[in-house]
């Protein structure tokens, strides 16, 4: 990612944070919305009661419901989108504030378990799955080195070793406890029904068990483990099923070219 793209992405992250905050229950915009709907509800109640008929009763009830809804407040999908996933992101990962340092996600992939196991054992394939923001290199047969660009031109790197290997069923890896970003993970495979392939569950955990170092580093890197696990699985699935990973690289718009603009 170029410096410019990074800056744009970070700026957008800040905007999204504000937007998410604005969508909170106390914001002025939200109060105005509720006032408007509450007013409509009140008007319907009054109007409905005046009519003294079945239709009027229905109107009054509808108004009352609207009023109750306005007082209670509800989440729109825009709020879900802006606060949970954020339109902004840095690197390959969605911006999201969370204290969670561990996550587990499952996906079904239309390939046999043995083949998938080999993919997760192969640094070259892993490199494509994690994407261009993480450099993956084989240290030796059982160890992999991961290097990530951190903000302000710094790098965070760590090594993982495979600590359990059960071909076609399970792989488990972890870093030494003194690593710069201590973490561990596992991937499990089991057959899916019929012609659906293999059910794959990826579990990742940073700075286990629940220290603060992992959370801080994740925050710096804008990584949410749950989202990260989901994206890694989806990218793996796309790669092995369709031979490519969907991308918005070079995607044109009036903002320019590429997914970060």
């Amino acid at each position: 990612m170029t410096e410019d793209a990074k800056r744009v992405a970070q700026d957008r992250g800040a905007t999204d944070l504000r937007r998410a905050t604005d969508a909170g229950t106390g914001s002025i915009a939200d109060r105005m919305k509720r006032t408007a709907v509450g007013a409509l509800g009140t008007a319907l109640v009054v109007d409905g009661l005046r009519q003294r008929s079945l239709g009027g009763t229905a109107t009054a009830l509808a108004g009352g419901w609207l009023l109750a809804r306005a007082l209670g407040g509800t989440d729109g999908i825009r709020r879900v989108l802006s606060s949970e996933t954020g339109v902004g992101r840095r690197g390959a990962h969605w911006t999201e504030s969370s204290d969670a340092t561990a996550a587990s996600r499952s996906i079904t992939i239309g390939k046999p378990a043995d083949e998938l196991y080999e993919v997760w054992r192969d640094p070259e394939q892993l490199s494509r799955i994690v994407g261009p923001f993480v450099e993956v290199t084989a240290v030796d047969e059982d160890r992999i080195r991961w290097t990530v660009d951190a903000p302000h031109g710094r790098e965070i790197a760590w090594e993982t070793s495979f600590v359990a290997e059960d071909p076609g069923e399970l792989l488990r890896w972890k870093t030494p406890s003194d690593a710069s970003l201590p973490n561990e993970g596992s991937i499990r495979f089991r057959p899916a029904p019929g012609d659906r392939g293999t059910e794959v569950t990826l579990s990742i955990s940073f700075d286990p068990p629940g220290g603060t170092l992992g959370a801080e580093a994740l925050d710096k890197l804008d990584v949410v483990p749950e989202t990260l696990a989901g994206q890694l699985l989806a990218r793996c699935k796309s790669l092995v099923e369709s031979g490519e990973i969907p991308t918005l690289e070079g995607n044109p718009s009036a903002r320019g070219k590429g997914e970060f603009l």
Partner: protein, 389 residues
């Protein structure tokens, strides 16, 4: 290159944007020769679809000539004339292999965003928000077409663009709506919305053996089109009570099959319609499900409700008790366009249908913003706009 870009509510502009390029092995680049404005583009235009970003290229009903192919593309070559489906489908996941192309597991780069919203992500679409993939749209001079072996259909015949262009979306969408309705002999089919998808749903309902087709709208020229080209009995919902009229036309049974070809931006009449408008404006409700409620009420017991109309999020006051107690079947989904390309092209080539009857406006991309406004206001008898870049 030139493209139509989205800049907020009712703000579409002609912009000079970078040309797309091949980035994945199964990509192709298509030089667009004709591209239409879809009724669902109006949902973007009116800012009812979340996760749009200022400057996004919109549009998803294109055809054109292949000018470049990626190293992995096997079935297309440079120079081929193709119609491009609006659904982007990988062709190799379980859904694609089961002909459920609009549910493709692999084509949405922003799948995580859609998953948070809906539980699972459907296929990526051209120019239809970042939640639905973020792909640049087709109201442009050039389009990047991912998974080019699975999407585009080659058209060899010398049929003009206008006759085959609508294979990209609205003809298959109307056809799938009628197919989903499960039409049986002697069935009466009611179609809400006489826009282009409604018109093709009417045509398709006859093709699939309907006994009678009733079309509901309020715009005179659209009702005229439904009568003249669709041979439908029409109801102007502003002039008549739809439920009463449908019961009269069906001996009180209600239409056996009901098709909602309107979706999120239903107009409707009365208090409920007004309340939907207010709630949608203040984001307390994402859609205005006026037609959905009415169709549920009108549908025959044990009948089918088929929904090709686009909905984006939460709807209020849906009478699900009626769905349950009347034992209705609900069928819906974005169109599995690839499933219908060959059979529907054959119908066009055989002369069973000439889809160009819906076209009312022809223009250049430069006139796009003006035509969006016209189409949105349903002015100037505007039913369908085709642009040539």
């Amino acid at each position: 290159m030139k493209a139509l870009t989205w800049h907020g509510k009712r703000d579409v502009r002609v912009a000079d944007v970078p040309k797309p390029e091949i980035v994945n092995p199964h990509d192709a680049i298509v030089e667009v020769t004709a591209t239409a404005i879809c009724g669902s583009d109006l949902h973007l235009y009116n800012d009812h679809v979340p996760s749009m970003r200022e400057g996004d290229i919109i549009g998803h009903e294109p055809m054109g000539e292949v000018v470049e192919v990626g190293e992995g593309v096997e079935t297309l070559s440079v120079g081929d004339r193709v119609v491009v489906p609006f659904t982007i489908s990988c062709g190799s996941c379980w859904f694609c292999e089961n002909d459920l192309y609009s549910l493709c597991d692999n084509s949405n780069p922003n799948a995580e965003m859609a998953r948070k919203m809906m539980g699972h992500s459907p296929a990526g679409l051209y120019g239809y928000s970042h939640m639905m993939g973020g792909y640049a749209g087709a109201q442009a001079e050039y389009l990047r077409v991912p998974y080019a072996d699975t999407g585009p259909i080659e058209v060899d015949s010398d049929l003009p663009d206008e006759q085959v262009l609508f294979l990209s979306d609205i003809f298959p969408t109307g056809y799938m709506a009628a197919e989903n309705a499960g039409i049986e002999p002697d069935d009466t089919v009611a179609v809400w919305g006489c826009g282009p998808v409604g018109q093709f749903a009417i045509q398709s309902a006859w093709m699939l053996g309907a006994n009678e087709v009733i079309a509901i709208d309020r715009i005179p020229e659209r009702l005229d089109m439904a009568r003249a080209h669709g041979d439908a009995t029409t109801i102007d919902y502003e002039a008549e009570d739809v439920y009463d009229r449908l019961m009269e036309l069906t001996g009180g049974r209600g239409p056996d099959r009901c098709i909602d070809a309107v979706g999120t931006d239903a107009h409707g009449t009365g208090l409920t319609a007004a309340s939907d408008r207010v709630k949608q404006r203040v984001h307390l409700e994402d859609d205005r499900p006026y037609v959905l409620r009415q169709a549920i009420k009108c549908c025959r017991k044990g009948g089918t409700l088929s929904v090709p109309g686009v909905y984006v999020g939460r709807v209020d006051n849906l009478p699900f008790g009626s769905v349950m107690n009347k034992a209705l079947t609900v069928e819906t989904g974005q169109t599995h366009v690839q499933r219908y390309l060959d059979p529907l092209l054959e119908k066009i080539e055989d002369g069973d249908i000439d889809p160009s009857f819906v076209v009312t406006h022809r223009a250049s991309l430069d006139e796009g913003p003006e035509l969006y406004e016209k189409f949105n206001r349903k002015e100037d008898d505007c039913v369908k706009v085709v642009m040539t870049p």
